[in-house]
Subunit: 316 residues, 2 copies
Amino acid sequence: MIELADVQAAAQRLHGVAHRTPVLTSRTLDALAGASVFVKAECFQRGGAFKFRGAYNKIASLPANERAQGVLAYSSGNHAQAVSISARLLGIPATIVMPEDAPTAKLEATRGYGAEIVMYDRFADDREEIGTRLAEERGLVLVKPYDDPLVMAGQGTVALELLVEVPHLDLLVTPVGGGGLIAGCATVAKSLRSDVRVVGVEPATGNDTAQSLAAGTRVNIGVPRTIADGLQAPEPGELTFEVNRELVDEIVTVSDEEIVEAMAFLFDRMKLVVEPSGAAGVAALLNGRVHGTAVGVVISGGNVGVQRFAELVGGS
Amino acid sequence: MIELADVQAAAQRLHGVAHRTPVLTSRTLDALAGASVFVKAECFQRGGAFKFRGAYNKIASLPANERAQGVLAYSSGNHAQAVSISARLLGIPATIVMPEDAPTAKLEATRGYGAEIVMYDRFADDREEIGTRLAEERGLVLVKPYDDPLVMAGQGTVALELLVEVPHLDLLVTPVGGGGLIAGCATVAKSLRSDVRVVGVEPATGNDTAQSLAAGTRVNIGVPRTIADGLQAPEPGELTFEVNRELVDEIVTVSDEEIVEAMAFLFDRMKLVVEPSGAAGVAALLNGRVHGTAVGVVISGGNVGVQRFAELVGGS
């Protein structure tokens, strides 16, 4: 479990390094959701997603001698960029283990931040095995994408900033992948205001956290098929689940179609570029899955290429 | 001519009504532009563009008896929405004269704000004639899109906000259509800091203001062909030109291709939805047409549909 003080310490480390992302409002969204909605736009975070907060908090907390050799992560998504940027800022090398069929744009972006990329065949190789071996051989520290107290605490700074700006929230909505974002945010929200409800949103096909909460234990559903590539965790993290079973009030789900509609709404009416995973919270609001009076909703990221965006949304 | 006091009065009227839009930064943009760049994101303004500032300032300044019958505008673009929203906020009717082949989305948006739409055939009818006749018949006040001191003063609040937030700018860059935005912004910039350069950006095919400044008198170039539909004025406004010939340091131009590249950059790297006209300033920066150390650039609007965006940018 983590505590408010851990998130406050993360906020100190991130001060002047992470962007304090804007909180945006839209009268149209308010009318459609039947609530005052406050959108925390993490698409404007460094690396295009909230992931930077957790990665930087973790790496900056490592003792100098531990991190001197560098850090390693396996990810083809936002965590890879977050670790790469953090390592560069802290002057240490980063190694990222990525599938060889990862989108060129993501490979380029990660390389652009100065990371060394080690590719693997995701049909033949086990990335965890490769990662563990590399970490041992080279003396690198593995930075997990969510199942780490320092990562969770970093992600919690999203809610800390939002609640300072909008203290009267009665509902906080975030997407749920591995559960790090909601774990950090719920820790903050419940500490600062015991009466704020915290609701997570999963893809309908990827409701591993919903199933796990219902079962009272972690359920592995395999890698779900969904356009929300950031929410494809097959099961909750061990540590994140311990936090979330205590603090999260409810998990709701949205379909891929609802996610695409929310992406189009955010583009048309709010002028925001939001990736599928990032739009899950707004999709839940637009489809009446969550109800509140003053609602904070986290847009977790905006890393979607123009081509992919046009494919997904252009047809709607 | 207008003065700083006019813009300050506009700021008072707009306080709590217009959005105070965020100023965004990007390390990638800084690196590409070789400067510290501060992006004033008017795509987040009400109605999706800076136009709301001028329209509201004008309509709110009308004596109650003059505005009681309502206001009229002819526009198929952002000015139509700006006038409609302003009229609704002030509780008076708005009539918008629009071509019958205007995009359905723009017709719907304008109607959605409660305006009455009068359609005309732009190949057979003269919209000014229709507008003037309607205004007389119905006792409506015509709200011009730029050639009005109150409209210019309203647009100047963009620069007022930007210079309060970033006082050390040495260059301010804005798109130029009819010239209202740059007239208001130059008035503010030159009053607050005599050493800040003010540079306007026009489409290469639509450089009526550049030609007019060179000629020392207004030059009409006909309606230019460009994707930047907000910058298609055939000639500078009468009043705006008087201001701009005094205060604008330079006009540079960008091609439609450069605009599309800037739209893609803003989407990919800054997660912003920006319409072609809105991206002109960033296009000038990315292509080395303007040079400064601390550069303010106005993104004038974000009203571009998903389909159109995909057509323009998806192919690049």
